[in-house]
Structure formats: C-alpha cells, structure tokens
C-alpha cells in the first residue's frame, strides 16, 4: 500500500493556467443572461453489455450486470451496480473457478461543463464493492521442478463456499446522451482490495465484481453500459 501513497497525492494536484485575461475597465456592462437551460433529474437504469459480449468470445467467463444511478445535485449522482460473474482461472499449476454475486455502491461526480441543455458527462467516482462468492479448485499439479518423478495432477474439485470480498474502487468514465434520455457510457476502474476471505491452503484468485486479484491486492475493470433515464423532474 505504501508505494501508492505518492501516486494518490497526484490526485490532489492541479494546475491552473490563464492565457487571456480581460481588464476590469474594458468589460462591457452587459445584462446577465436570464435563460436557464433545464435538464432532467431522475433515475437512470441499464445494463453493462460488455460482460455478455466478453462471454461470447471467452468460454471461461460469463457475467451480467445491471447499473443504476440517481441525480441528486447538478453534478452529483448516487450510483450502484449489481451483478453476477463466473470465471475460470487457468494458471500454470492450478485451475480454479470463482462464481458469485456482487454489489457496488458509491457516487459519480460530473466534471464536464455542458453546453446549453446537453447532458454529457466526463465523470470520476468512488465505489465500495462487496461480493459473496465461492471458489472451486478444479485441479492442480504440484510444482516439483523435476521430470524424474513427474507430479500427479490432483483432479478432486475442492470448493470453498461463502467467500467474501470488500474493496474500494476509483471510477473514471465518459457518458453521452445519444437519443433523448438514452445514454451510452464507457468507464474504467482501479480497485484496491480491503479485505478478502481466502480459502484454506489456496488463494482467492478472482472475485466477482473485482476481477483478477493481483499479488498486491489491486485490480482493474471496465464497462460499457446502455442506460435509460426515467425523468422525475426538470430543473
């Protein structure tokens, strides 16, 4: 974790630059614009279509995710995702399958200044993720580094039930309104594992919602979602 401290500091760095500045006495005394462009507020629901597409091309993976968010302020949304994932991890000496459900809760902040009544976003967000899953060690071959006595592969599946994982996620994404109230979103996320329950004499290699768990307890994810906004009010 310590090695990320410096990197995390970069999150708080910003640089302001101005190339033009008007002197106050040259300002034209204009009236303030009285037109306010209203945008829709409401509940946005949809699915992540990247997961079913990925499952088409990858026989070891299947997944499904529904997403939703609710606009609470001009630039602030409460966001949540819930889904199911199953993935078989093939390593040199082990083969294991993780499957289970997950939920992520958090918020998105829209950093994009829209023109007129447009409703596009470049957002950053935070999520807290939780998953409940099981992991089965399908087979493994002990790493014996000798060809004189080849190791025998153990093919008795061993399932660890009720595994849990908690993590934090930083999200960055783009969202465009393509038709009225219909949005396409592409986002990526960087995840840091906070707590994961490991099976006995094995390790949790994949957690639903988190994806592959790297040695340092970090992970990456991306999503491509189609959402529809149910407008509640305009303001």
């Amino acid at each position: 974790m310590y090695k990320y401290f410096i990197s995390i500091c970069f999150l708080f760095v910003f640089v302001d630059g101005f190339s033009q500045e008007q002197k106050i006495d040259t300002l034209i005394n204009s009236k303030t614009d009285s037109i306010i462009y209203k945008t829709n507020y409401g509940l946005r629901l949809g699915v992540d279509i990247s997961k079913p597409i990925l499952a088409q091309f990858n026989s070891t993976y299947s997944g499904f995710e529904i997403v939703g968010d609710y606009r609470i302020k001009k630039n602030l949304y409460i966001a949540a995702e819930a889904g199911y994932e199953k993935e078989t991890t093939s390593e040199d000496y082990t083969n294991s399958t993780s499957k289970g459900n997950y939920i992520k809760l958090g918020f998105n902040y829209n950093a994009y200044q829209n023109w007129l009544d447009m409703n596009n976003e470049i957002f950053i967000g935070y999520r807290y993720g939780f998953s409940l899953f099981e992991q089965t060690l399908n087979n493994y071959t002990p790493n014996v580094n000798t060809s004189y006595f080849p190791a025998t592969t153990n093919t008795t599946p061993l399932t660890a039930m009720d595994l849990t994982a908690h993590w934090s996620e930083l999200v960055f994404g783009f969202r465009t309104e393509t038709f009225k109230n219909f949005f396409i979103t592409f986002s990526g996320s960087y995840k840091v594992m906070m707590d994961v329950k490991e099976p006995e004499n094995f390790k949790t290699l994949f957690s639903p919602g988190f994806n592959r768990i790297f040695e340092t307890g970090t992970g990456f994810g991306f999503s491509y979602t189609l959402t529809y906004l149910i407008p509640f009010k305009k303001k």
């Binding site: 990197s7 082990t94 014996v144 580094n145 190791a151 025998t152 930083l170 004499n201 990456f220």
Partner: protein
Amino acid sequence: MRKIMPLISFFLLINTSCEKDDFCIKNPITQSLIINFYDDSSKETLKNVKNLYVWAEGKTDSLFINQTINTITLPLNSSATETIYNFSKENVVNQFTITYNPVDEYVSRSCGYKVIFNDITFSSDNSWIIGFTPETLTTIENQDEAHVQIFH
C-alpha cells in the same frame, strides 16, 4: 486544464502498479534431498564416491552416471510415500530408502503448490555404506546444507 487533471492522475495511479505475479521466481519450489558423502574413518572429511551411479528403483535412466563426487541432490517422488534409490559404487549396489509424508502447500498464483516432505525416515541395506546420520528428519525446509551424511 483543471478538467484533464483527474484523467492524468488516474493514469498515473494505474502506471505505478506494475505486477510481478506472472512468473514464478521462487525456484526451487519443492525441495530436494541433499546427501553428503563422508569418510567413515574420519567422520569430518568429505570423501568422493568413485564411479557413482544413482537411479531410483524401477527406473531405467540414472540421475548420476559414472561420477566421482561427494555431494548429490536427489528429487523425491511426490506421488508416493517412499522413494528407493540405488547407489552403485564401483559396481556394488547399495539400496537407500527414504519414507516420508508428502503434503501439498499453496505458494502463489504463478508458483502453484509445493510439496513438503514431512516425517522422513532413512534406511539402507548397507553394502558399501557403513552408516548414515540422521535416521529421521521432521521436514526438508531448505537447500542450504546437506540433509543426510553418509559414511563409507
């Protein structure tokens, strides 16, 4: 500029997290048995075995062929509880039996499982081997020093 900063900082965060769990660099994972040969008349001095052949019982290929050495490293059979080696010195065969309890222990994603040999017992039919020490060993943990000393 202010809008692009979160993007830059985000990618900085990603770039610092190079991962190194794709290759197993902790070799050897499963430990082998190291045997040193000593002179029986002066038990502190290493003594070469002349024309040494080493093969496991039931195997046709030898691990050592016609060598004159005083240290050998032997793999143990992880799928059995006993490994019988034939040590041939100047065409005299001495059988050396190692019994143990193999346990698989998880190491890491890239290295998989290692085999730990516990409760090891050695025995010999003493043709050219006069004695050995120790007779039992709780476990083989490292490759730093010899596990068995054989006197001849």
